[in-house]
Amino acid sequence: MSTEQTELNASNRVAPPLAGAEPLLAIQDLKVHFDLAGRGNRVVKAVDGVTIDIYPGETLGLVGESGCGKSTLGRAILRLTEPTSGQVLYRNRDLAHLSRREMREHRRHLQIIFQDPYASLNPRMSVGQIVGEPLETFKLARGREADERVQELLETVGLSKRFIKRYPHEFSGGQRQRIGIARALAVDPDFIVADEPISALDVSIQAQIMNLLEKLQREKHLTYLFISHDLRAIRHVSDRVAVMYLGKLVEVADAKTIYADPLMPYTKALISAVPVPDPKVEATRQRIVLEGDVPSPINPPQGCRFHTRCPYVIEACKQVVPPLVEIKANHFAACIRISPHQPDIEKVAPGQAPGLAAAEEAIA
């Protein structure tokens, strides 16, 4: 066990939820940097070295605050934003280095649902055209067959086939999100990036869309990257959760564990900040209120990027970039103040950094 664990640590890989399963997507050291025009060599490091595997049939929740790079990561996987470096392995091909034409072929298997159902549907196209367009693009069906397929897709997402000739403005937010889902499903994908799919919707409609996505996952064996800032939604839909802060993953674990037992101080604060819909719980729980704002991703802080807001910061945190280390079985965290032998930051002596050696090794 211990040798196996060291190996994992050394390669800095996030272990499978099911031993032996092959990942559907293997993301390796992915970076997306944006050069800012104008003065100086200013670079926004939106995604800065993300390594994670996504397994068939799972929902990986990706959570973080605005500007942390979570949407850019989702878009970079699909090459909707060009990665600066790194790999995205899918069916033994590196998506990050395919030609545009090859990538277009692969998009059939990799789809996306957007946050704003108002902005992501062409207002001049009917529902039938919107959902049917991918069938035409990928030459999957035409004529009567395509029409039947569109009707079937609308029913799958809970819309009446009578809507086929209507236009987006005639629908509510929740219905438009269903249209977006039908369009993504048209090409029978393996993998869907759901980028804040419920954030613009009313509470009662959010539940409907989450249930729909879960039903479709069961029926069609879909794999999701579910991106959201809403920790309650993430907890509900995800099998595993990855927490992102200023371009880097800082903690990865299964959804239940990350809520019950967060290890890294940022995750602890994030989870304690979520209001619980229960006045009895709210009256008694301790909330970690972080000081200050998220720093700018232009020239982010040196060392651990969270050190400017961290209540547990020590000098070494300002120098050393903490790697994502398997602190407990299948539970990864990036913090030099904890280690597999000392997972509880509260119990670490002041000024101590039990994870420092591993961090320095990883850098070396």
């Binding site: 509470v203 009662s204 239940k256 994030l270 209001p275 006045p279 709210e282 209120v289």
Partner: protein, 336 residues
């Protein structure tokens, strides 16, 4: 000052809008009270009338297309709806202040923060420029803006979303209002910043003794912040109770559905309860109960007759033909 401690009493308020679709009864006959020092939460989905209620209280309904058709808004015993516009202006911003969802659109982008704060106390408290400036800096410090005297010279775009909301709170509290109305104050903010802002509102409320009306769609936010709750749907109050009572024993099927459809991070996963159907089209409400088309326990009477506002306990009311039964079910469920 009123002797019974009631700061605000709203009686049968109705605000309608003329639209291409016909007359929309955005707020349709709502009544409630707010005591001094208390926090009242108003919860509802889009189109429920919660924000129109808020704007009606301070007479900020654009006319046309909107108009307050009837009702009384007794603020410290005086009916705001019967006052002259000049007299309303003396109350608005001074005795009743507001914070809105989007601080960027509520601040003037061409004015330095200091001037925006100074305007308020110069107008309402008759401060000189000098007094107003000192007061502005003090308020910015109170709401936790670091290095306030430098930051006061910045423009709104130089602040982050959380900092702008702090500026809005500083402006709102400048004249120590008796009532603060916060309409979705944290909806546009990240969760760690939301925690900061809610904590700040709580602390300042305790320090000043102001009453607060907190309008939100987030049941988690009201759970920790409010004493009483109104649940609105289709322009009506569907349920009204103390926060603890309403969460523990909801007496309305809509409230029950809403509470069940929020994922609880502390509970096990599983299929989420979902309220079927779509939020109501307020321009075309069905006869009978507006929630009936989405209600799983609706019976014939619900589609035919408008439901009564049933009193369940001294301060717990529910708009439902079956309020008593729903309330008993909630109690039975809570008694495992």
């Amino acid at each position: 000052m009123n002797t019974n401690g009631t700061l605000l009493e709203v009686k049968d308020l109705r605000t309608y809008f003329n639209t291409e679709d016909g007359e929309v009864k955005a707020v349709d006959g709502i009544s409630f009270q707010l005591k001094r020092g208390e926090t009242l939460g108003i919860v509802g989905e889009s189109g429920s009338g919660k924000s129109v209620t808020n704007l009606s209280l301070i007479r900020l309904i654009p006319n046309p297309p909107g108009r307050i058709v009837s009702g009384e808004v007794l603020f410290d015993g005086v009916d705001i709806l019967a006052l002259k516009e000049d007299d309303v202006r003396k109350i608005r911003g001074r005795r009743i202040a507001m914070i809105f969802q989007d601080p960027m659109t509520s601040l003037n982008p061409f004015m330095k923060i200091s001037r925006q704060l100074m305007e308020i106390t110069q107008l309402h408290l008759g401060h000189t420029r000098h007094q107003a400036y000192d007061h502005a800096i003090k308020m910015l410090e109170t709401v936790g803006i670091p290095d306030a005297s430098t930051r006061a010279n910045n423009y709104p775009h130089e602040f982050s979303g959380g900092m702008r909301q702090r500026v809005m709170i500083a402006m709102a509290l400048s004249c120590e209002p008796e009532l603060l109305i916060a309409d979705e104050p944290t909806t546009a903010l990240d969760v760690t910043i939301q925690a900061q802002i809610l904590e700040l509102i709580k602390t300042l409320k305790q320090a000043t003794g102001s009453s607060v009306i907190l309008i939100t769609h987030d049941l988690g936010v009201v759970a920790g912040m409010t004493d009483h709750l109104l649940v609105m749907y289709a322009g009506k109050i569907f349920e009204q109770a103390s926060t603890a009572e309403l969460f523990a024993f909801p007496g309305n099927p809509y409230t029950r559905g809403l509470l069940h459809s929020v994922p609880d991070p502390l509970a096990e996963q599983g299929e989420l309860y979902q309220i079927p159907g779509l939020p109501p089209d307020v321009a075309h409400l069905p006869p009978g109960c507006p929630f009936a088309p989405r209600c799983q326990r609706a019976e014939e009477i619900c589609k035919r007759e408008f439901p009564p506002f049933v009193q369940l306990t001294a301060d717990h009311h529910s708009l439902c033909h079956f309020a008593g039964e729903v309330y008993e079910e909630s109690k039975a469920e809570a008694r495992p």
